[in-house]
Symmetry: none
Subunit: 80 residues, 2 copies
DNA sequence: CGTAATTTGTTCGTATGTATG
DNA sequence: TCATACATACGAACAAATTAC
């Protein structure tokens, strides 16, 4: 699922994978995505890599992060 | 007692130190080891580091942890 | 019964050092 | 030199379980 060798950075692959899970309806609006540590487990990556992936998703406007709580799928997947 | 500079990770040093205290009979079977906050004070470390040290001791089969109570020295230090 | 204090569990924020390409 | 990636470590906030009052 994640290619640790290929040219695409891991954090981009992980961000894309999570985005796919959101668009597939596996991860629902206002509900949390897996925690950083869970992403570390699921994808076999370092925490810093998980954080960069989540940061990418924030920049894409797909999630919001709350300290001490987690990162949540935004209610409106892009809109005004 | 704890070397904050050397190559050995702090959490390993702290785990080793606690194990030594168990083997020396300072920390007795079925009795609690110092709480995470006490370890923070005693060793001048962060709580996360104390938790990683305790996790190591659990993996070594030396202690068991109970939520809201504490971490206890196992009755049988390895046996069948 | 409710409240507070203690203790472990979980989560994100940040910084540093190391290694690789 | 820079980006990527991992490991370590400290800090802060939030949460749940237990115990004392």
């Amino acid at each position: 699922m994640i290619d640790h060798e290929g040219p695409t950075p891991l954090y981009v692959q992980v961000a894309d994978a999570i985005q796919a899970r959101i668009e597939a309806g596996e991860l629902l609006p206002d509900r949390p995505i897996p925690s950083e540590n869970q992403l570390v487990q699921e994808y076999g990556i370092a925490r810093g890599t998980a954080r960069k992936a989540i940061q990418l998703l924030r920049e894409r406007g797909l999630v919001v992060t709350v300290v001490g709580r987690g990162t949540f799928v935004v209610a409106e997947p892009r809109q005004g």
